[in-house]
Amino acid sequence: MVLQQLGGSITRALQQMSNATIIDEKVLNECLNEITRALLQSDVQFKLVRDMQTNIKKIVNLDDLAAGHNKRNIIQKAIFNELCKILDPGKPAFAPKKGKPSVVMFVGLQGSGKTTTCTKYAFYHQKKGWKPALVCADTFRAGAFDQLKQNATKAKIPFYGSYMESDPVKIAVEGVERFKKENCDLIIVDTSGRHKQEAALFEEMRQVSEATKPDLVIFVMDSSIGQAAFDQAQAFKQSVAVGAVIITKMDGHAKGGGALSAVAATKSPVIFIGTGEHMDEFEIFDVKPFVSRLLGMGDWSGFMDK
């Protein structure tokens, strides 16, 4: 997986520091610069990276470290904790329960992969014995209903939508009601792509959310996004109760740091990643093991601040 490249660079930087005989300001700076560079090349938001660097320096005040202390360990621990702060919001996402009706609403920027991911999410649960259903509340994009319909048909998942109705709120409500009656336990609402610069689009999203009262709002983000990620994700979070993130297109070359910034902005965990255009190219994502793996693991487990 691509994020591993980032892990590799970080581990290398730490290794180099470990090889140095004396750890002084220069060695620490070199190590931090390497890590900073790796994070920036992965599109982690610039400010997050800078703050992290400052925090680490503050924690690892070299002059204050008593002679007996193991500097290396203190530095590594500081780096680990700062990375965890970015990657791990500290609380798990709402987990729908099989057999109990839940409404899950998908939101995100244009073209991020919402419609594709809705089907993947439904298909994933269907295979585990759930009764999912798809509602197309995207009345804006050309061909949106056809896209969802064709995907749903392929996966044999019931769907609801309309070619005539232009009000997404109305369709969303009708669809959710219908599938609640049909005893579906996972009602998935797909919405149009939108961006923070257009207030009317955000207002529409707020209305769909208010009308359907989703148990979980999932923010879908493209792994290739750059420095705009944080601001956009934060704006979504401020309009609707984003509770989880899915990062798509992880089969590409992107290192995914922009999407990780979305985690920081929404304070919500990444729950799945998309790894291809096909229905089954979808993987569960667990933050803690990921962070550990990112850093070469093992020795890190003792560092977790609890």
Binding site: R37, L40, Q41, S42, D43, F46, K47, L109, Q110, G111, S112, G113, F140, R141, A142, G143, A144, F145, D146, Q147, L148, K149, Q150, N151, K154, H195, K196, Q197, E198, D222, S223, S224, I225, G226, Q227, A228, A229, D231, Q232, K249, D251, G252, H253, A254, K255, G257, G258, E277
Partner: protein, 287 residues
């Protein structure tokens, strides 16, 4: 930003470093790819130290300019349709901006035809059909799971028959590392030798933008059976309305490919297509 070094008569590398670091940081906050920001700073340093490096001049001098309207009329005089192929990774806005380009050409009294050569993604054909209907433009489509290279070929033949001036070919989104899909694209381009290969990239993209463009070019070269393969001619940069002042992708893409940004997409309706304003980009980058 440059105050710290103002007033010195002789610049040395050590004097420059803090300022260059600040410049690089600033460029990166504006979403210029790390590698490109680094290169730009190197060439700034070199020129300030009195050395000459090729890279900075590249943007201004070697980016070719293309005049589509002129070229369309030239093709018309030769009695053949002018063919544009839209390529790029998934979801960047190829189909939507194809429709905007169609609308723009219509405004210049040019007869346009669309070719639905994304024969893979669910709803892709219906999406294009919807745009064609709204704009009252003929569309050539053969449904799904056909070889897009062949569909494009038939579309161009049809355009010659019905007297269309321009054929706009929509293609499926594909990741730059996906060899089979890139091979299929190289084939489509090789078989149809379009007049313009337009790379569609989104302004939202971060460091990956550089990789996308260079790999599309490289794969078009490597996977084509032709000894003189067609590469990317120009860039269409989409979603410019979603990035505030983080305009760096424009710089990264032009820098890495040497291709001009021919259009900028700045919204989701047909009129949201603009020309790149270089001055405002530079202003946003250095603000």
């Amino acid at each position: 930003m440059f105050q710290s070094i103002a007033g010195k008569s002789n610049l040395e590398k050590a004097d420059l470093e803090p300022a260059l670091k600040a410049l690089k940081d600033k460029l990166m906050t504006k979403n210029v790819a790390e590698e490109i920001a680094e290169k730009l700073c190197e060439s700034v340093a070199a020129s300030l130290e009195g050395k000459k490096l090729g890279s900075f001049t590249r943007i201004s001098s070697t980016v070719r300019s293309i005049d589509i309207l002129r070229d369309v009329h030239a093709a018309k005089e030769q009695g053949k349709p002018y063919v544009v192929v839209f390529v790029g990774v998934n979801g960047v806005g190829k189909s939507t901006n194809l429709a905007k380009v169609a609308y723009w050409l219509q405004q210049h009294n040019i007869n346009v035809m669309m070719a639905a050569c994304d024969t893979f993604r669910s709803g892709a054909v219906e999406q294009l059909r919807t745009h064609a209907r709204r704009l009252q433009i003929p569309i050539f489509e053969k449904g799904y799971e056909k070889d897009p290279a062949i569909v494009a070929k038939e579309a161009i033949q049809e355009a010659s028959r019905n007297g269309s001036d321009v054929v706009l070919v929509d293609t499926a989104g594909r990741m730059q590392d996906n060899e089979p899909l890139m091979r299929a694209l190289a084939k489509l381009v090789y078989v149809n030798s379009p007049d313009l290969v337009l790379f569609v990239g989104e302004a939202l993209v971060g460091n990956d933008g550089v990789d996308q463009l260079s790999k599309f070019n490289q794969k078009l070269a490597d996977l084509s059976p032709s000894p003189n393969p067609r590469l990317i001619d120009g860039i269409l940069l989409t979603k410019f309305d979603t990035i505030d002042d983080k305009v760096g992708a424009a710089l990264s893409m032009v820098y890495i490919s040497g291709s001009p940004v021919m259009f900028v997409g700045c919204g989701q309706s047909y009129t949201d297509l603009k020309k790149l304003n270089v001055k405002s980009i530079i202003r946003a980058l250095l603000k």
